[in-house]
């Protein structure tokens, strides 16, 4: 079922946790709510679930207003960061819970419940834990049980709050791929909260980037990563270099280099920052074209199959980071302290006045 979030506001005392957020989440998709800690992701997710009451705004599932429905009537599956399994029940009883508490008229027979629970446990590959208690399972196993428990009631939507946040890096990476495959199998409309951009980009069909209780950008992972709407999203989605630039009538200049910026065609001599990702910088050993940016190699770091250079240039306050393959690096023959020349393969220029609001968050 599709989810519609319509102008939701929520404050805690004076603090605005969710600031007029509207979203349309299409049926059957896996959407990531991505943002730094404290940006209001959990609050928004809990409002969608009905665990928290919004101050104003509406929540709709498949066109039906849910704003005044109680949590227990909304038919959502919710997976908590810290699992929230029932400690005093076995794994089987946990997964069966949503079925056994149904009113007698709707409750499946004992045998039907048993079958369904065992199917779900197989789905999460933990059927052998049925008679254990949650305390006897690892974190990753507990979270899979929590997911099976949420799926048992056939929720209209599945909401996951940092489901892998409490797990170590390796288990996290495995589980998120597993979640992706699972979602491809069951296709329930899902929203999961994360502060890890890699996780969001890897797993989701859509990404919603949040900051300070507001939506900064939404789109497919590719759109959001390749075309960040503003400096905040640019920075949040990965390492980025900032070059000082000047924009005049649709052209940005960084030193001798000119970059067309048609979106700023009416700007007159304005200060700007060019955002360029480390792998979008071409490093050259000589200035053949004559307009490349001059730099000095400060350090060379080999990270597995790739090489990261740190370079100093007068057009950036901080050291510039550039990434390339080992093979490309060997071709350049650069050493520490050598001169080098930089050319951006792709960049995005934000005028300084654009930058200010997004960074200070006012």
């Amino acid at each position: 079922m599709s989810i519609r979030v319509d102008r939701i506001n929520k404050r805690f005392n004076d603090f605005i946790a969710v600031d007029n957020v509207s979203l349309d989440l299409p049926e059957g998709q896996l959407t990531a709510l991505l943002g730094p800690s404290g940006s209001g992701k959990t609050t928004l997710l809990r409002i969608i679930a009905g665990l928290e009451q919004a101050d104003s705004g509406h929540i709709e599932f498949h066109g039906q207003d849910q704003t005044h429905e109680h949590v227990s009537d909304r038919g959502v599956g919710f997976v908590f960061q810290h699992y929230a399994l029932f400690k005093h029940m076995t794994v089987f009883e946990n997964v069966a819970y949503g079925l056994t508490v149904k009113p007698r008229r709707e409750r499946p027979s004992k045998e039907a419940i048993r079958k369904k629970v065992m199917n779900l446990l197989e789905l999460v590959q933990l059927d052998w834990t049925a008679h254990r208690y949650p305390a006897q399972l690892s974190g990753g196993q507990r979270q899979r049980i929590a997911l099976a428990r949420a799926l048992a009631v056939e929720p209209k939507v599945l909401l996951l709050d940092e489901p892998f946040g409490a797990l170590d890096a390796k288990v996290r990476a495995e589980l998120r791929r597993w979640l992706r495959r699972l979602h491809d199998e069951i296709h329930v409309t899902s929203v999961f909260v994360t502060h890890d951009q890699e996780e969001a980009l890897e797993v989701s069909d859509r990404v919603v980037v949040m900051n300070n209780g507001r939506v900064e950008q939404e789109g497919t992972p590719e759109e959001v990563y390749d075309h960040p709407a503003n400096p905040f999203v640019y920075r949040f989605l990965g390492n980025v270099n900032l070059f000082h630039a000047r924009v005049h009538e649709g052209t940005a200049t960084i030193g001798d280099l000119s970059v067309p910026v048609p979106e700023h065609h009416d700007s007159q001599e304005q200060d700007a920052l060019a955002y360029i990702r480390p792998h979008e910088i071409e490093v050259l050993a000589s200035n053949e074209s004559g307009d490349a940016i001059h730099a000095i190699v400060k350090s060379i770091l080999v990270i597995g199959p790739s090489v990261r250079l740190e370079l100093q240039t007068e057009h950036s306050k901080e050291l510039i980071q550039a990434e390339m393959s080992k093979h490309q690096f060997r071709g350049l023959g650069l050493l520490q302290g050598d001169e080098a020349w930089l050319r951006p393969m792709q960049s995005k220029v934000f005028l300084q006045e654009d930058e200010a609001p997004a960074v200070s968050g006012s």
Partner: protein, 296 residues
């Protein structure tokens, strides 16, 4: 503890590094022995000895005398009244304790710290004062006295008064036991239950209650023990009408004041027996709790 003891006894023999390290972090043998000795001496002097005195006093003139003393009408009335009061007070305090603990642990509201310290009041006020407060409120000369007598209700010098003061005096036990427990549990399991479609009542029954089960049982036991033994406040509000408003502790005092020591001890032995049963149940609960705490 026993592990520590045995390894420490081995120290004089094995003068290796481990032993030296152990001696550096442990108290010398004589300190430990004398501490344990002092504790045991106190326990014997203040618990075991009185217990023996009660039993000897109760049975020294034979079982027949004991039986006659505890089945005599006034004694039977006192026993019945005590059990009746406990049967009313404990459920009241279960409801109260669970409600308050739930409110404190699961909701945010103004004046929460004040409410928590209010719960401790009955422990802080002397029972005699509690008794007087209720006499002033409900007595025939009291604030509500006219209204009560107009409606033909008697609270002071009657069973309702006894129930009220005992309920008041034992109010904190269950709430005190549950509040930290529920606070530690948080709300997540309840929230999970709600999202799974369970009603608030089912959530309470299947999730909240099992999670605080042992704490609740423990609180009930303490509340029960104290309710049976309550003296000061009851002495004031009950009016001490023999065969009517005397609870067991009051009846014992009456017998004692009338130099009927054997009878006093006989009734005491029943009260003590009930206390011992309570302690036994409490230990069993603690033992069970520890055992299930490991597996679940």
């Amino acid at each position: 503890m026993s592990e520590l003891n045995t390894s420490a006894q081995a120290t004089p023999v094995q003068l290796n590094r481990a032993a030296e390290w152990q001696r550096a972090t442990e108290e010398p043998e004589w300190v430990r022995r004398s501490l344990i000795g002092i504790a045991l001496a106190f326990l014997s002097a203040f618990l075991i000895l009185p217990l023996l005195v009660v039993l000897v006093g109760a049975f020294e003139q034979g079982l027949g005398v004991w039986y006659a003393a505890v089945t005599e009408p006034d004694a039977r009335s006192a026993i019945r009244l005590t059990l009746l009061v406990v049967a009313i007070v404990v459920p009241i305090n279960v409801v109260f304790g669970v409600t308050v603990a739930w409110a404190v642990a699961k909701f945010e509201f103004h004046g929460k710290p004040f409410l928590i310290s209010l719960i401790d009041m009955p422990f802080a006020i002397s029972p005699v004062v509690v008794g007087l407060i209720f006499v002033i409120l409900f007595g025939s000369q009291g604030w509500l006295g006219n209204w009560l007598s107009a409606h033909d209700l008697q609270i002071i010098f009657a069973v309702p008064g006894i129930v009220v003061v005992i309920a008041f005096g034992t109010m904190p036990f269950i709430a005190r036991e549950l509040i930290p427990l529920m606070q530690e549990q948080g709300k997540q399991e309840e929230e999970a239950s709600l999202t799974l479609g369970a009603s608030g009542l089912k959530t309470f029954w299947y999730v909240t209650l099992p999670n605080v089960k042992w704490g609740l049982i423990y609180g009930i036991i303490l509340c029960n023990a104290r309710a049976m033994g309550e003296f000061g406040a009851v002495a004031i509000v009950s009016g001490r009408i023999r065969g009517e408003t005397n609870t067991m502790p009051l009846h014992i005092e009456v017998l004692y004041n009338e130099y009927m020591f054997t009878a006093a001890f006989a009734v005491s032995s029943i009260l003590t027996g009930l206390a011992l049963v309570t302690i036994a149940i409490k230990s069993t609960v603690e033992w069970l709790e520890q055992r299930t705490g490991v597996t679940a």
